[in-house]
């Protein structure tokens, strides 16, 4: 692995209305790495992801992508910086007024300035990658949750991101639809995409990642290999959290 991490989050804090949401969080991702963030809700996981691409600029700290500081970028460069970071949301956030194909194509046209025909061609290629060519003409309201999330993956991938941030990509899905989305994510990871993922799919996380980051109350509490999650209630905080999850989900 090269000496310089691809993505480095350095001492990021975020305070909203006097409440500390993120407290001095640091982490780094090497090229091709997948790291998984777990932790109780309200722990600052989503805020952290939105701080990484400066959708919520951190109050202090910085983010470096390929060695470049986001803090020092102009507004315009922040837009270019965000292009290189794909983001997947829990509730998909597809554009309601566009069909699946145009959901993927619009950023290529408006942000990258590609011609319509070329953008649509690329959009179809991305939809093929996530197995949705036949649904290309359907609107978000006509797609299932799993299909929506796959369209949003295609939409992010079309921008050729260097890193992907995934914010609980399967937690708004019916259980039988989770698999199709996780499959695409696993495939992506195997093909070398660098990813930072918030998820409660512990089993999935265990298989794909070498490092788990456990967050609670805005801080990184524990970091380590997936074995960190084992040991049950008597183990560390992460293990105790997992034991609780398992109790609820019966796994």
């Amino acid at each position: 692995m090269s000496a310089q991490p691809l993505l480095e989050v350095s001492h990021v804090s975020r305070i909203i209305d006097g409440k500390t949401i993120l407290d001095d969080v640091s982490l780094s991702l090497g090229r091709g790495e997948l790291k998984v963030i777990i932790g109780p809700s309200g722990g600052g996981k989503s805020t952290l992801l939105q701080c990484v691409n400066f959708l919520q600029p951190p109050d202090s700290g910085d983010v470096f992508l390929d060695g470049q500081s986001a803090r020092e970028m102009s507004r315009q460069n922040i837009c270019a910086f965000r292009q290189k970071i794909g983001m997947i949301f829990q509730d998909f956030n597809l554009f309601d007024h566009l069909c699946a194909r145009d959901n993927v194509a619009i950023a290529l046209q408006k942000v990258k300035g590609q011609k319509k025909a070329l953008a649509r061609q690329r959009a179809m290629a991305e939809l093929e990658r996530v197995g949705l060519v036949e649904q290309a003409h359907l609107y978000p309201s006509q797609l299932s949750g799993g299909q929506k999330q796959r369209v949003s993956l295609a939409r992010a991938l079309a921008m050729d991101p260097m890193v992907m941030l995934l914010d609980e990509p399967t937690s708004a899905l019916d259980p039988e639809l989770i698999g199709e989305v996780l499959n695409v994510i696993a495939q992506l990871s195997r093909s070398g995409m660098t990813m930072l993922m918030v998820t409660h799919q512990i089993g999935f996380a265990r298989h794909l990642t070498k490092e788990i980051i456990f967050m609670e109350a805005g801080r990184v509490v524990e970091t380590g290999p997936p074995e960190l999650l084992e040991g049950g209630p008597e183990g560390g905080r992460a293990a105790a959290f997992c034991a609780k999850l398992a109790e609820v989900t019966g796994r």
Binding site: N53, L55, R75, Q76, C79, A80, R82, Q83, I85, G86, M87, F89, D91, F92, N93, L94, F95, D96, H97, I106, A107, K110, V111, L138, Y139, S141, Q142, S152, R155, A156, M159
Partner: protein, 240 residues
């Protein structure tokens, strides 16, 4: 002169002339009002606090006062203001900028209609923007859209679709209140009806024909708006 001759020679040509003037008033006012409403609605839904306050004030004034009063202000009130300004500025050697305040009847009418219509339209647009989930705007920014790009490519088209029925309704109103152009001496359908009626003492026929013309315009506009609404509508979930 037979009744038929009166219709053919005077009433219908005069009303047609008025119709053309009405269309020249309605089309630009409707378009400008919609654009103004979109901008004001966006400002009221998403802008900084001070902008919101200023725009809310604009809407309160223009929805809260009769359109007739507004029109009279633009046409007869502004020249009075121009006179006052001239008194102050001319001795100071200013160029005659006060002349900008002297509006033609047509300009005063279009300005009045646009500002009034824009205030109402902004209400529909604001409601629509507030009902769109913020996530779409966030997703666009995450893809690299700037805030204004995200607004024009994502928020505005979605909001317009949601607001389409309300905005269309406002345009229907506009068609009818365009008859108030009468008070600033623009002779459109109603103005022609009034002139011909008082010339020949045939109020019933003159105003009846004017009413028919408005009804026809509203019918055509309704059909166009319905077609647009259908074309723009976001498809419903498919039934399986």
């Amino acid at each position: 002169m037979s009744t038929w001759e009166f219709y053919k020679e005077f009433l219908i040509p005069a009303t047609n002339k008025g119709l053309w003037v009405s269309i020249q008033l309605i089309v630009p006012s409707a378009l400008l009002g919609l654009i103004l409403g979109l901008l004001v609605g966006a400002g009221r839904a998403m802008g900084p606090k001070s902008l919101k306050k200023a725009l809310n004030f604009y809407v309160a004034v223009f929805r809260g006062t009769p359109l007739v009063v507004q029109l009279v202000m633009w046409f007869y009130g502004l020249p009075s203001l121009a006179l006052i300004l001239e008194g102050y500025l001319k001795p100071l050697g200013w160029p005659p900028i006060w002349q900008w305040l002297l509006l033609s009847p047509y300009a005063a009418a279009v300005l009045g209609f646009t500002l009034c219509s824009g205030a109402y339209q902004s209400e529909y647009i604001r409601g629509a923007i507030l009902s769109i989930k913020k996530g779409q705007f966030l997703a666009a920014q995450a893809l690299g859209f700037s805030r204004s790009q995200a607004f024009w490519s994502i928020t505005a088209p979605v909001a317009l679709r949601l607001a389409a029925p309300g905005c269309g309704n406002e345009i229907i109103y506009l068609i009818k209140y365009s008859s108030l152009a009468l008070v600033v001496t623009v002779v459109e359908i109603t103005g022609q009806a009034k002139m011909v009626a008082s010339l020949y003492f045939r109020h019933l026929e003159c105003y009846l024909l004017a009413a028919l013309y408005y009804l026809a315009m509203v019918t055509v506009a309704t059909l166009i708006l319905r077609w647009l609404e259908k074309k723009l509508a976001i498809p419903e979930p498919a039934r399986e």
